[in-house]
Symmetry: C2
Subunit: 768 residues, 2 copies
């Protein structure tokens, strides 16, 4: 029976439910010190003078490092594969600590003390004198000619690029309508359950051991090496269980500090654990992006020209830098067809917390703009939004040169048809037409696509190792990281399927340890089941072949006659059981003449990618007098290829849609517009949705089979987060006729827009 | 510069000196319970009734298991490779707990409590009623026809065998002299610094994790599986740093109990840590062996016939059982030549602590007998002891059919010549001839040989894995276990030598974890540098080949022109530096087209063994009036093939000789002759030598090159422990003319023998 396409229980379900999985903070090392970071109380400026003498006298303080004590060279923090070509490497623009303050909360000094409380008390005793500059909080301000450079020599630009294809002027001229509109998204934070945390210590030979809540242990190893100026082989990073990352832990944030503190303390363990307040501002956020879209359309509803210009507000340090704007460009170009296209983007330093990777990497911003734009256009054209989209979708099998990707399987049209039917699109559209009153219903949709991994822009290397145990079970070791998404379960299913053994005979090692774990760049870009899955399949095939070869020697049967199934070597022609795999395994260990334990240790360099598709369909009820939006029905329909595990797939969609709903309706990290001080960097004031705020989410799948994938599967981790915001915005437009072009869609913003558009006045009158 | 034959510092020197290496007891798991074992207060009998009700009421007691609660099937404990042939498996004769008491201290019940103190208090509250039998403390008593069977159906015999070659009667008839003598060795204990300790817990899916101070993690995994009746793949054994084993931790003693306690407590961590008093009696001891040797010799001093009959006192459970007596047979047969040979052995159950493997596995017993016998014969023949031995040594290059081994390198004659010269044999022999007075000097020697590993009697499988890091350093993972002997350093040297990188660029993983560590049966039989070294070399050669292949692709140079040296790819003909290995490594990770990290994951099935040789030369001064023996000079000269690391080799010899000196002069585990209760199972009453008791030990090497070995090397771990006891006994004989045929050579025993032989009376008269 196939292990693919099941509802298999998570391999870690039991241990997670019973609270037995260990996270960084569950791991205790004797004599561990706790470090706390002295953060700037200004957003822009320089430290003129720092005095740690009083703090150093506090009993229990073991070490204070300031920006004067750390290596002077810069290093990057983004979790991308390293590049042999220096021009393709991430921007290297920060030190471990800094005297040049670039955002409110920048890291000036660190205290290592016997406990957290003492470290915090010591922070309060450090005296800092600043030279203050006016904070640059808007991208536009940063781009002004006379703007102070946040990083010298950059003009406050981290990156910019432009892409043109086709004859733009001609294409615009051939349009019947030209429409231009600006859309804005907000700064949000990942809010993984587990804050950033790491500890470092040294046992021998100055090799630094780091336990970290990271998505990218092997990359973290490299970056710590770069930050400290040490050979990478001297760093060892261990990733235990992780309480979520969502891209925030695809950056190396706390590890270099923990490492340098331990190094300066003769290897004593030092832990750097951020508070929730620090995680909000001192890790990563999602870029606020302003998109100016301009489209030419024929009266038949076909694009002649599409143009997008985006400005991405990156904050204080580059992190993933311009890559996200680059991904926006790919996303913009691939989503629909046209005769001519233009895209330009600039990513800008500001005195705000650093933005980085966050679930769907540019998708939530670019497709908020594009999918709102689609409904704005459809409305202008008098076309149904679905119909308008369908007319402009690229043909299945297309190749997009800019993104460097080819479509090998495409279920988007079927997703759209399914969503339309499930939500009762035509029937409800007719029913709600011309509605009045303060409670109004509306329908909205948004289409999305998402390719796996970073290829062709970066390396996609994955490795896996399998060891067959004496009882016919196997150890499966992957460099890809389980961070809560369920990848360990899916990899175990893949190995069980290909080797031909029961799922519970696959023992997957969930901990990654760069000393012993096969190399993989980690968990990001929805790459794991597609890219790392390739490695698992390759290793499993090797193991199966070795099992059958040994069985041939044991039985003298020819290899072509044999197969495996559910823990047995079977005859291929009739599946008759021949020999338990355990017997073959035992022979591989204990045959006095030929013993050689069966293992596979392989890597796979994936030089292709695949595209997931899907759409969100939503029905909302808008309370016009209060601006409150209720989600009545929500369907997320995904073409993620063959679904490996339905229950986990649904979980991914539920989580991603929930994140998308928060992005749509509630979440925004706010700053004092003068000082740049964060206003709501805590879970009381930052309005994260709770379970009771969350509507029923229907997760559905149109299963295609991607021939390039290990098991026909395609990405699913990130795409669910894309659709809700534009779909809800479009449903509000449908319900009220009001275009709201920025996120989040809070009651206050809706109320203001309803007043501005005259809707509230009119309503109020009617109700009098 | 070669990395072989150096004085390289131990890879763990720094961390050990600084107290940073973690042993089982240094590792803390939250909520860990402590288990204590209820041990019998009789040596032979049955539990008629056990009442745990009072103990269960003690606050803090979480679980009490008695012999009634454990699986009823038996399991073996010896650390041997498993055998496909059931008749070659270790004797399976024990349960985790027992109601059938077989020695004083047998394990009846276990208490798991919140701390050790509570567990101990609970033990005192358990009420046990025994049915007592008369303890059988002597092998002869156990072999009597009407003896109670300690294990039903065995006749108290664990194993016996006999070997005959040549025409014995004819050979005896052709002898000029026939001499027969009995020799006895005593029960001693390993006294590793670290007592036996293990803890077990479960995180998920009922897979049991065990941290253990074990020499044999992979075998431990199998035995815990057998003991609990679980598939072996469900067990995970982790070996951190180990504070010595010497064979005592080549048995699985505490792990099954820790595992079953945790299993019954829903996976809660449970630790079983033995006290020193328990380690003495409840782990393993060295077999006391009685050897009856009979030899026919010609007047030219050549053996015509040799016959050996041994009785090995094994104690309560089989453990390694008859294997040690089997090894005695091999040792006896290989040591000298003759026309006809007979050997028979029986291993016997008694109501004493269980004997098992201990440094040199039968060698210290068999060669005590044989080498004392050599001097007894030489004395009778009026021959010099060295000359007599040299006349009877097998010719270099011999094959011994019984032991199934061939000699490929043999430096024994050179060792003997060196020792003879160093100690000034002829000159001192002449000087001391006819000495009188109460302080008398004497010279003694003993020759020894020791083959590596268990082949041809068992599997010798080893595996190694190497991963090349981005900086050109490597991770080296071996299943072979560092237990203090320095094997990690030697393996690192081997890898550095073969790959062609600096030693500090080899990062060896010292922890073995059966989930991720390549398979190896572990540390015993002086096998590691010979057997596991083969695997390290094989993996290193594969890595070197892959590095050169990639360099060829990078440079277009033909592979035959390239070599590696000290971290560089060099031209083979002139060693000119071409490219840092780090550059090749970086390309292997990040070449967009061809990336494939360089790794090797191999196993090696060694179907051969090699023989180490050596001899001990000692000069003693005997105080006849007190029976005290002072070591004046001691030389241990070893042919252990090519020495990989001189300073570590000397350390092995110092440690082994020290153990041999304790065995010779002081150590003996004593029991009440009626009750079988141990009398000195603690470090106050058991006379282990301290540093101040230890004389200067001169460790010297005659370096041969063994062609079958990975680097010409041969075993060294165990052989140093063999020579001291017979050499000292022979030196006492030389000094006093008194034959002392049993160990240890304590003042009391010497005094009694001197009185018995009239030496003391005579002396006293002279002194009056």
């Amino acid at each position: 029976m196939s292990k693919i396409g099941t509802n298999s229980l998570r391999v870690d379900a039991n241990s997670k439910v019973r609270g037995k999985t260990q996270y960084v903070d569950d791991i205790f090392i004797r004599n561990m010190l706790h470090a706390k970071i002295l953060r700037s109380s200004i957003a822009h400026g320089r430290v003129k003078h720092i005095d740690t003498s009083k703090a150093l006298k506090l009993p229990g303080v073991e070490l204070i490092l300031t920006y004067e004590d750390v290596p002077k060279h810069t290093f990057p923090t983004a979790g991308h594969p390293y590049a042999l070509d220096a021009s393709h490497r991430d921007v290297s623009d920060r030190n471990i600590l800094t005297g040049h303050i670039r955002y409110w909360g920048d890291e000036i000094a660190a205290v290592a003390a016997v406990d957290e409380h003492t470290a915090e008390k010591a922070l309060a005793l450090i005296e800092v004198e600043y030279e203050e500059y006016i904070p640059i909080l808007q991208a536009e301000a940063a781009l002004q000619k006379d703007a102070v450079e946040i990083h010298e020599g950059t003009g406050n630009i981290i990156g910019c690029h432009e892409y043109n294809s086709g004859e733009m002027e001609q294409a615009l001229a051939s349009a019947d309508f030209i429409f231009e509109q600006e859309y804005n998204t907000s700064i949000v934070q990942h809010c993984a359950m587990e804050n950033h945390s790491a500890f470092a210590y040294i046992v021998s030979n100055d090799r630094i051991i780091i336990y970290s809540s990271t998505q990218i242990p092997h990359i973290c190893r490299r970056i710590v090496g770069q930050a400290l100026g040490l050979p990478w082989g001297r760093i060892r990073v261990v990733k235990p269980y992780i309480g979520g990352g969502f891209g925030s832990k695809q950056d190396v944030v706390v590890e270099p500090l923990a490492a340098i503190l331990s190094l300066k303390l003769q290897g004593r363990p030092v832990k750097v654990e951020l508070s929730r307040e620090e995680t909000f501002i001192a890790t990563r956020t999602r870029h606020a992006i302003k998109s100016l879209l301009k489209s030419g359309v024929t009266s038949e509803g076909l694009f002649t020209a599409r143009s997008g210009s985006i400005i991405s507000t990156n904050g204080a340090y580059a992190s993933h830098g311009h890559s996200i704007a680059g991904k926006c460009g790919d996303t913009f170009c691939v989503q629909y067809t046209q005769r001519a296209i233009h895209f330009d983007a600039v990513t800008v330093y500001t005195n705000l917390p650093t933005a980085g990777a966050m679930r769907a990497y540019g998708g939530p911003q670019m497709l908020f703009a594009m999918e709102c734009h689609m409904d704005d256009l459809a409305k202008k054209l008098g076309l149904d939004g679905i119909e308008f989209r369908l007319r402009n979708l690229p043909e299945p099998g297309f190749t997009n040169e800019l993104a460097g990707i080819t479509d090998y399987s495409n279920g988007l049209r079927e997703c759209a048809a399914k969503g339309k039917q499930l939500i009762g699109w035509d029937e409800k559209k007719a029913r709600y037409f011309g509605q009045t009153g303060s409670m109004r219903r509306g329908l909205g949709t948004a289409f999305f696509h998402y390719p796996a991994g970073t290829y062709p822009h970066g390396q996609e290397l994955a490795s896996a190792r399998i060891i067959v145990n004496q009882d016919g079970s196997v150890q499966l070791q992957v460099g890809a990281t389980e961070i809560g998404q369920g990848s360990d379960t899916v990899f175990a299913q893949m190995a069980a399927e290909t080797i031909g053994i029961p799922l519970n005979n696959v023992h997957i090692i969930s901990e990654q340890d760069t000393d012993v774990t096969p190399f993989d760049t980690g968990s990001y870009a929805s790459r794991q089941s597609y890219v790392s899955g390739m490695a698992v399949k390759k290793a499993a095939l090797e193991v199966k072949a070795k099992l059958l070869e040994r069985c041939c020697i044991m039985t003298n049967l020819p290899i072509h006659s044999l197969d495996t199934a559910d823990g047995w070597v079977v005859f291929k022609h009739n599946q008759e059981k021949l020999l338990p795999i355990a017997d073959v395994a035992l022979d591989s260990y204990y045959n006095l003449k030929t013993a050689a334990p069966i293992t596979a240790d392989i890597s796979h360099n994936t030089r292709i990618t695949t595209i997931s598709y899907g759409c969100t369909f939503v029905e909302v009820e808008v309370d016009i007098l209060t601006g409150k939006v209720a989600i009545i029905e929500l369907y997320n329909i995904h073409d993620s290829g063959k679904i490996i595990n339905h229950i986990l797939a649904q979980g991914q969609v539920h989580g991603g849609v929930s994140m998308g709903l928060g992005y749509a309706l509630y979440e925004q990290l706010l700053f004092d517009t003068k000082s740049g001080k964060p206003l709501n960097n805590n879970l009381l004031d930052y309005k994260l949705m709770t379970a009771t705020d969350t509507p029923e989410i229907e997760a559905l799948f149109v299963e295609t089979f991607d021939p390039t994938a290990p098991y026909g599967n395609k990405p699913l981790g990130e795409p669910p987060a894309i659709g809700p915001a534009p779909a809800i915005r479009n449903a509000i437009l449908d319900a009220t006729g009001v275009h709201i072009n920025e996120l989040p869609l809070t009651p206050q913003r809706l109320f203001e827009k309803f007043v501005q558009s005259g809707l509230i006045r009119m309503e109020a009158r009617e109700n009098v």
